[in-house]
């Protein structure tokens, strides 16, 4: 059976000869990303500790690298790259939209309760 796999990643920058080769290529990429995360997590460079939009730059880097990994797992391991556009959008945008909403609500409220704990008359440290 002949299957049409799209064999290029990084928007066509790297093109593999076969599907098997692409799988190993993606593995190497994911391993490098994980290694970067672990090294940053262990050494925690002082320069990345500055805050940026309410969070440390280091944490932003972690989250972005995670999303990059998630993209390649979904697109190449789960073959989302080979599905039709409508299926892709149906799955991805539904999840992203709902998850963003969930995160916004819960983190917003968590931050509010924290402000009550610190500025209100509730004693927690005893």
């Amino acid at each position: 059976m002949a299957h049409a796999h799209k064999l290029e990643i990084f928007r066509g920058l790297v093109k593999f000869k076969s599907n098997t080769q692409k799988i190993w290529g993606v593995l190497i990429f994911l391993t490098i990303v994980t290694a970067i995360e672990v090294v940053l997590g262990i050494y925690k460079p002082e320069s990345l500790m500055a805050k940026f939009i309410g969070m440390k730059i280091l944490n932003w880097i972690f989250i972005i690298l995670t999303l990059v990994k998630a993209y390649y797992i979904t697109w190449d391991f789960m073959h989302m790259r080979d599905e039709v556009k409508a299926l892709r959008r149906m799955v991805v945008w539904t999840a992203i939209f709902l998850i963003l909403y969930l995160i916004f609500i819960l983190l917003q409220e968590g931050g509010y309760i924290e402000s009550i704990y610190t500025t209100g008359y509730i004693k927690t440290d005893f």
């Binding site: 299957h3 073959h79 080979d82 299926l87």
Partner: protein, 326 residues
């Protein structure tokens, strides 16, 4: 993709499964929908973790200091190394899974068998590692004292290194029988008593000049606050209620009880997914050996469990980031 199961009875029946909207077979599309809903469940858990963490943003335990153990390397502080290994095992088993799917497209039964087998092994290593991680977490390492307010007091030496209770507290022999069902209220039981009492910890702290108390509060450098010698003794004497060793759902020596609760809940739920994934993989593995898909001339079933398996890997990538890194 044109790898529909060759099943003659549905051919041409638009409402009987013969139709392929979005060019994906029924089974694959349903697997995608399941994955979306399961992804939302996990997001709910992780967002709830974020909620609790934002609520106690200045008191949350530092994951680097909690998960420092590696099997066979006792007493060494190696933060993240073992979790990174677990992540790599899971990604690797994802790779063998996708190779099995690829071999299935070429109808190569032998290769599918080998790759499915490797995937199962990878899954088992991961579940085993997680069990070990749980056991280490539950057992604890240094021990701590809980205060009236439910906060945790840990002990450090002058350089800021953690000191275990067993290193400076002398347990005296005391007569204190555990409360059992046979005496007193039959419906009330008492768990195992901690090794030391608070009084013993106080006298241990008084005897060792160089030991200080560390609180849960994070300072501006993101490190836990260490109290002065006088403050240490005062805090321990006035507020210490009981000794905590290890972690359970009610209290833990690492800090906020919610940290342990979410650890058990999120990694447990994920571990359950890995476990069921291994079971499903084993079933498909035997089907492959028996030649079920060979006869069907189609290995789409491998592809469908593959989707589930990759999803489990995908979730772990997020759990790894939000529980261990951020």
């Amino acid at each position: 993709m044109s790898n529909t199961v060759v099943a003659t009875e549905i051919e041409g029946k638009a409402w009987g499964g013969g139709n392929e909207p979005l060019k994906a077979s029924y089974g694959k599309m349903m697997m995608w929908f399941f994955i979306v809903s399961d992804a939302l469940t996990f997001s709910g858990f992780l967002a709830a973790y974020g909620f609790s963490r934002f609520k106690f943003i200045d008191y949350w335990p530092i994951a680097d200091e909690v998960f420092t153990h590696v099997p066979f390397l006792h007493g060494q502080e190696l933060p993240m190394i073992y979790v990174a290994f677990m992540t790599f095992v899971l990604i690797m088993s994802s790779v063998t899974m996708v190779l099995a799917v690829d071999a299935g497209h070429h109808l190569n039964k032998g290769k599918v068998t080998i790759y499915m087998f490797l995937t199962i092994i990878g899954g088992l290593i991961f579940v085993g590692s997680q069990a070990w991680e749980w056991a280490t977490f539950i057992k604890g390492d240094f021990g701590a004292v809980q205060t009236k307010g439910g906060n945790i007091l840990q002990f450090v030496d002058a350089d800021g290194h953690r000191v275990a209770l067993r290193d400076f507290v002398v347990g005296e022999h005391t007569e204190r029988t555990e409360h059992g069902r046979e005496n007193g209220l039959w419906f009330v039981e008492e768990g195992t008593l901690p090794t030391y009492t608070v009084e013993e910890v106080v006298s241990g702290l008084e005897a060792h000049e160089n030991i200080l108390v560390r609180t849960q509060l994070l300072n501006e450098h993101g490190e836990k606050t260490v109290l002065s010698r006088a403050e240490s003794l005062k805090q321990l004497k006035n507020n210490g209620t009981h000794v905590v060793e290890g972690a359970n759902l009610k209290e833990n020596e690492y800090g906020s009880p919610l940290f342990a609760d979410f650890f058990f809940f999120i990694t447990g739920f994920h571990g359950f997914h890995v476990f069921s994934g291994v079971i499903i993989n084993i079933i498909i593995f035997f089907n492959v050996i028996l030649g079920t898909y060979e006869k069907r001339k189609n290995y789409e079933m491998v592809e469908k469990v593959g989707l589930y398996w990759h999803f489990v890997d995908l979730v772990w990538v997020f759990v790894f980031t939000f529980f261990y890194l951020v």
